[in-house]
Symmetry: C2
C-alpha cells in the first residue's frame, strides 16, 4: 500500500463540533518539539496553566491539560474524585449526561440520575431536591449538551452544593468560550473541557481545573509510581483506578516536582495554548458576544427558511441550534447534498432526536458572518432540491437583519 | 497576562525521546480538519489502520489508534484485556516494566513480576518458568525499555505463550521502527506504541493492535454506551472499567458501525498517519538498518570519547545508548551545558541509574549522520569543560569510521 501525503477536501464544518480549526491554531501546532523538562517547555506548561485559569475564570492552581479528547478529561475528573461506592448525582438532559453517568458507573460509583425531557433544562430546585434525596458526594453534569443544544444554568448550583457539602463538577466541552462561565464566582469544584468547539482547535487535549476542595480529595489518594518513587513518597488512601487519568500524578508532572508521568503531547499543548491565547486576546466577553451574535443570526436564518428550531430557546447555547427536519424531507439526503455540492457539514443527531433534527453550529473559528450566510445560502438550495419550498433569499435576509 | 505566539528555541533532541519530530509529520498535522463521519475521514481512518498493520507486520483487523500518549495505549490494552482478579505476569527489566505492573494493578489484576538486573534481559527459559509457576492469563512486557536501553528478545515468547494458553502483550513504544519486530510471525496478541521515538512524531497518539484471540476477550465484555445504544445491543460479561479505554467501543468507532465514542483527535491522526507513511516509504527493513547504523556510530563515538557504555550491548536497542558518567564529572552540568551552549538535549535517567548514566538517542528523524556527529562534537567540548580529558576529535573520528 502506498499512501499519499495527507490532502483533506475543503470543508466548512457547521455541525455541533468538531468545527474547522482556526488556521492560527494549526500553525502553532507545526512548531518544533522541545524536550519535556527543557526550561522553555516547563515555562510554556506554566504559561498554559495560567491561560486556562483565565479561560475558566479561576484562581485554581490545579489547572492542567489531560492528554486526550474531551471525554478523557471527564474520565480523569470522575475516576480521580470518585472512590468505588461513592454516590454521585448526574442530572441528564441529553446524551452527554448519559455519558457522565456511564463513566461514573465504570469508576465503581453509585450513580443516581434525574432526567428532564430533551430540549429542556433543570431548575435549581429540581437539582436541590435530588441532592437532598440522594446525598451524593459529587454533583456531575454538563453545562452545554450539544445533543439537545441546551445550556444548563449553573450559577445557582454552586451555592446549593456548598450548603449540602457536595462537590460540584461540570463538563464545559460544548459551551466554554461561547457562553458565560465563571468557575470561582459560581463555586465549581471541577471542570473539564475540549478544544474542538468554541475554542477553535482540534480534539485531543482536555483542559481541567480543580478547586482546593477537589484537590483535597485527590491528595487523600496519592500514590507515586513505583519506577520513580523516592524516600518520603508515602501512599495514602485507596489508589485511583487509572494510572493515565490519576490527576494526582498529572499534577505532580505539571507541578514543581515535575515527576515524570506521561510524555506530554507537546503538539496538542501548543494547540491548546494557542486556543486560549486567541480567546483571551479577543476577550472572554467579546467572544461570548460574538457567539451570541452569530448564533442569533443562524437562528433567524433557519426560521427565515421556514424551519422550526427545537427546544427551549431561552436556554439554547449560543453556538448551536437544532432544527426540525421538515415533514417529507429526507434529512440525511440534505446533509449529504450540502457536503457533496457545497463542502458544508451540518450535524445529524442522537437518541430520541435521531432523524428528527439537524444540528447547526456557529462556533469558534466558524462563528463568522460569511460562514453563517454561506451555510444559509447552501441550505436554501439543498432544501429546495429535497422538495421543500423555502422563500428565496429569506434565510440570508433574516440573518442579515440580525447583523444590521 | 498577554501571551505571544508560540516560538520554541532551536533544539536537537538526542535523548531517549521525545526526539525532534520529522518536519513532514508536523506539516501534515497542520492540514485542515474534516468532520468525523465525513467519507473522506472514515476512508483516512481505514487507511491509517492499514498503514499500522504494515508497521506492526500483522493482519489483525483490530488495529487502531488510541487518542492519548503511549501509556494511554498501554492502559487501553490492559484494562480491556484484564478483568479484576486475572493473573498477569510482568517481567521487569527497567522502569517501564514497573509501569506495566502498576497499570495492571490499577485494573484490579493479580500482578506477578519477575525482575532481572537493569542492563540485562530475560532468557525465554526464565519467562517460561515464571509462566509455569504463575499460570497467568496474560504475559505483559515492553520490547524496549529506554530506562536501561535493553531490547528484550520476543521472537521465542509467542510460542511459549501459545503452548501455555497465555495471551502475549508487548509495548513497542521505545522500539518500533528502529528494531526488528513481526507481530504475527512472533505470535503476539496485543501491542501498543507511540509516535515520539523511532516513528519521528510527537507524543499523543498510541497505535494498538489486537489478535483475534485478544479480540475474543474484549468481545466477551461488550457494552454499548447508554446514549447511543440500539435494540440488539446486548451487553455481555463484566463491563470494562474505563469508558475512554474500552477497546470494544473504540473498535466500534473505527469499524463499520462507526458508533460514536470519543471525537477522533484528527490532527494527531494526521500525524500518526504521516509517521507510518514515511516509515513504510523508507521500508521497515531499511529503517531498522538506518537505526542500527547510526546507533553503532553513536556507540563508537562515545567510546572514542573515552566513555563506557552501560549494560549488555548484545541486547541494546539500536536507537539509544546509556553512557556511564565519568568519575568526577557532574552529569547534570554537562547536560545543562549541552542544552545552553549547543541546543542539544541528551537524557538523564531513572531509579537505580539516576546520576549514573546519560542516555543518548539516535532515533526517528534524528537517526542521521549530522545529528550524530554534531552531538559527539558538542559532547567532547562539554566533557572538557567538565574536567574530563577526551582525546580531541576521537569521538567524531570513531563514528566516521563506522560510516566509512
Amino acid at each position: 500500500m502506498t499512501a499519499e501525503p495527507i490532502h483533506p477536501p475543503h470543508r466548512l464544518l457547521m455541525g455541533p463540533g468538531p468545527i474547522t480549526a482556526d488556521p492560527r491554531v494549526l500553525r502553532a501546532m507545526s512548531a518544533a518539539l522541545v524536550g519535556q523538562f527543557d526550561p522553555w517547555m516547563t515555562d510554556t506548561m506554566n504559561e498554559t496553566q495560567e491561560l486556562y485559569r483565565q479561560v475558566f475564570r479561576t484562581r485554581n492552581d490545579a489547572t492542567v491539560l489531560v492528554d486526550g479528547t474531551s471525554r478523557a478529561g471527564i474520565e480523569a475528573v470522575l475516576v480521580s474524585l470518585l472512590s468505588p461506592g461513592d454516590r454521585v448525582l448526574v442530572p441528564v438532559f441529553g446524551r452527554f449526561g448519559h455519558l457522565l453517568a456511564e463513566i461514573a458507573q465504570r469508576c465503581g460509583a453509585e450513580v443516581h440520575t434525574i432526567e428532564t425531557p430533551w430540549g429542556t433544562v433543570f431548575t435549581p430546585e429540581q437539582i436541590e431536591q435530588a441532592i437532598v434525596a440522594v446525598r451524593p458526594t459529587l454533583l456531575a453534569l454538563v453545562q452545554g449538551d450539544t445533543s439537545t443544544t441546551m445550556n444548563q444554568p449553573l450559577a445557582d448550583l454552586g451555592g446549593i452544593c456548598a450548603e449540602h457539602g457536595v462537590l460540584f463538577y461540570a463538563d464545559l466541552t460544548a459551551s466554554v468560550g461561547g457562553n458565560p462561565f465563571a468557575m470561582d464566582d459560581w463555586r465549581l469544584d471541577a471542570v473539564s473541557a475540549g478544544l474542538q468547539k468554541c475554542l477553535g482547535g482540534p480534539s485531543g487535549s482536555a483542559p481541567v481545573s480543580l478547586s482546593p476542595a477537589a484537590l483535597a480529595v485527590i491528595d487523600g489518594r496519592r500514590h507515586v509510581e513505583a519506577g520513580i518513587r523516592e524516600a518520603g513518597d508515602v501512599a495514602t488512601g485507596e489508589r485511583i483506578r487509572s494510572n493515565y487519568f490519576d490527576l494526582g500524578m498529572i499534577l505532580d508532572y505539571w507541578g514543581p516536582r515535575r515527576l515524570n508521568h506521561h510524555t506530554e503531547a507537546t503538539t496538542m499543548l501548543y494547540g491548546a495554548r494557542e486556543c486560549a491565547r486567541l480567546l483571551l486576546q479577543e476577550g472572554l466577553d467579546a467572544a461570548v458576544d460574538r457567539h451570541a451574535l452569530h448564533g442569533a443570526a443562524m437562528l433567524a436564518g433557519v426560521r427565515g427558511l421556514g424551519l422550526t428550531p427545537f427546544g427551549d430557546l431561552a436556554h439554547k447555547m449560543h453556538n448551536v441550534v437544532a432544527v426540525e427536519i421538515p415533514e417529507g424531507v429526507n434529512g440525511d439526503a440534505v446533509r449529504a447534498g450540502l457536503l457533496t455540492d457545497y463542502g458544508i457539514e451540518i450535524g445529524t443527531s442522537f437518541g430520541p432526536l435521531h432523524g428528527r433534527v439537524w444540528r447547526i453550529g456557529t462556533m469558534g473559528y466558524n462563528a463568522r458572518h460569511d460562514a453563517v450566510l454561506l451555510t444559509l445560502a447552501a441550505l436554501e438550495q439543498a432544501l429546495r432540491e429535497a422538495g421543500a419550498s423555502p422563500t428565496p433569499g429569506a434565510g440570508v435576509a433574516a440573518a442579515k437583519e440580525v447583523y444590521a
